[in-house]
Subunit: 215 residues, 2 copies
Amino acid sequence: MAGSGHIPEATVARLPLYLRALDEVAPSGQVTVSSEELADLSGVNAAKVRKDLSYLGTYGTRGVGYELDYLKFEIGRALGLAHTWPVVVCGLGNLGRALANHTGFTDAGFPVAAAVDTDLDKIGTTIDGVPVFAPAELGAVVSEFEIAIGVIATPASAAQAVADALVGAGVKSIMSFAPTVLVVPDDVELRAVDLATELQILGFHLHRSIENAET
Amino acid sequence: MAGSGHIPEATVARLPLYLRALDEVAPSGQVTVSSEELADLSGVNAAKVRKDLSYLGTYGTRGVGYELDYLKFEIGRALGLAHTWPVVVCGLGNLGRALANHTGFTDAGFPVAAAVDTDLDKIGTTIDGVPVFAPAELGAVVSEFEIAIGVIATPASAAQAVADALVGAGVKSIMSFAPTVLVVPDDVELRAVDLATELQILGFHLHRSIENAET
DNA sequence: ACGACTTTGTGCACGGCTTCACAATCACAA
DNA sequence: TTGTGATTGTGAAGCCGTGCACAAAGTCGT
Ligand SMILES: NC(=O)c1ccc[n+]([C@@H]2O[C@H](COP(=O)([O-])OP(=O)(O)OC[C@H]3O[C@@H](n4cnc5c(N)ncnc54)[C@H](O)[C@@H]3O)[C@@H](O)[C@H]2O)c1
Ligand SMILES: NC(=O)c1ccc[n+]([C@@H]2O[C@H](COP(=O)([O-])OP(=O)(O)OC[C@H]3O[C@@H](n4cnc5c(N)ncnc54)[C@H](O)[C@@H]3O)[C@@H](O)[C@H]2O)c1
């Protein structure tokens, strides 16, 4: 079964974890991995690992496990890892600079090729090897650097306008750090990373455990 | 029904969104909000909003909507927002500094009270108003500042050791940015924010839409 | 060649989340 | 007081993801 059919979203979200786990095993010279081992390394259930991999059409060998190199290749292919997707960072403030300076993204195939900011002092300069442009130049930047992904790291008040500009420039994938609801067309993939919300969820659990302790 | 019973995790994750949406409405002088309006502002389905709010035991008025101030109070109470939860940032590199310098966390009730780092040049100094300590001092720091949440922004290779140290110091909530699997006891709440994985998920969709276009 | 052992692939049942649809309920005007 | 219009609260159905459990299928030692 399985094969190149539809891959569930939950599975897609775990594929990068498997890939990372495999990279940790590789140096050991090991040739195969069992679903159990992969499960331990990636922090998920072994049955889930097997079901996930079955969606790729990747077959392991019963009694042995999965061939390491082949599995890495298959997961990488499913994720489209052969391609590199250049990123533009919008808003080079505290967070934007940290992102631009991060080498891990380039290593994963997502080089930060350019940035845009409204700050006149930054426009025209190169920060951490990343050239900075004015927002008005976004369209040209997207074509020039073949930008595939836009990262929004501006204040929340500017986020929707930046998102609109990215969409207008033809960008189909956006990752936003701005704590606000963004509206984008259906064919644009939006992932919102909301750190304050993450903290509030932690706060909720802290709060509740205290309440329960008092009871 | 409902009341102070168990609140589903999915609902908890949306409560901060509602709170943010309500803060946007407040200045308008409006007294009540309908579930529909709240749904638009927070980007979720109206029925979901009503069901979520019903878990809080917060009752709106049929034909009218929810009283704004009362709703804000109730959601805030459910999230434990009365309390402030001091945070320690572990690893003051690119990302750690951005986090430490971010005012939004303090505003939301999560002040960055202290940081730890192995860099001898940083230990003993104050960066962006945050005092920096050596990892060995973590236990003392946690008691001294009544730390409730630990944020891990060290290289992945050090993340598990830092997590262990946080757990050892009695911290029950951890937010990690390190791209690695962390193991913590059951009574410790761990939220892993993996930006490279987020990008890879976007990459997957880009990859697939290209594939489909070719077919 | 064969049996013992290992590990995969998946059918199935379960639980949680989402969404629809609508009766119940309230405000308010006449 | 009664009718009208609006909006909530929730039962029920459907969907998706999880995890168990086990037959199928391979390896390996003898
Ligand atoms: N710093 C953090 O650790 C952190 C944490 C969580 C969330 N965030 C969110 O990330 C976003 C950025 O945070 P920050 O701390 O880097 O803010 P910042 O104020 O340091 O930086 C914002 C940058 O965006 C630029 N900018 C403003 N309007 C712009 C526009 N229209 N187009 C392009 N650039 C524009 C500014 O010039 C500035 O350089 C905010 O929405 C913030 O809430 C930040
Ligand atoms: N910078 C980013 O935008 C970004 C994006 C995604 C993920 N991350 C992840 O976040 C983490 C931090 O990234 P960064 O760019 O800030 O790295 P960095 O190298 O700039 O900073 C790491 C900091 O941690 C300190 N450190 C090292 N070992 C430590 C220990 N045992 N205890 C305390 N402090 C220690 C170092 O002295 C340094 O200051 C990494 O795991 C990285 O993969 C970063």
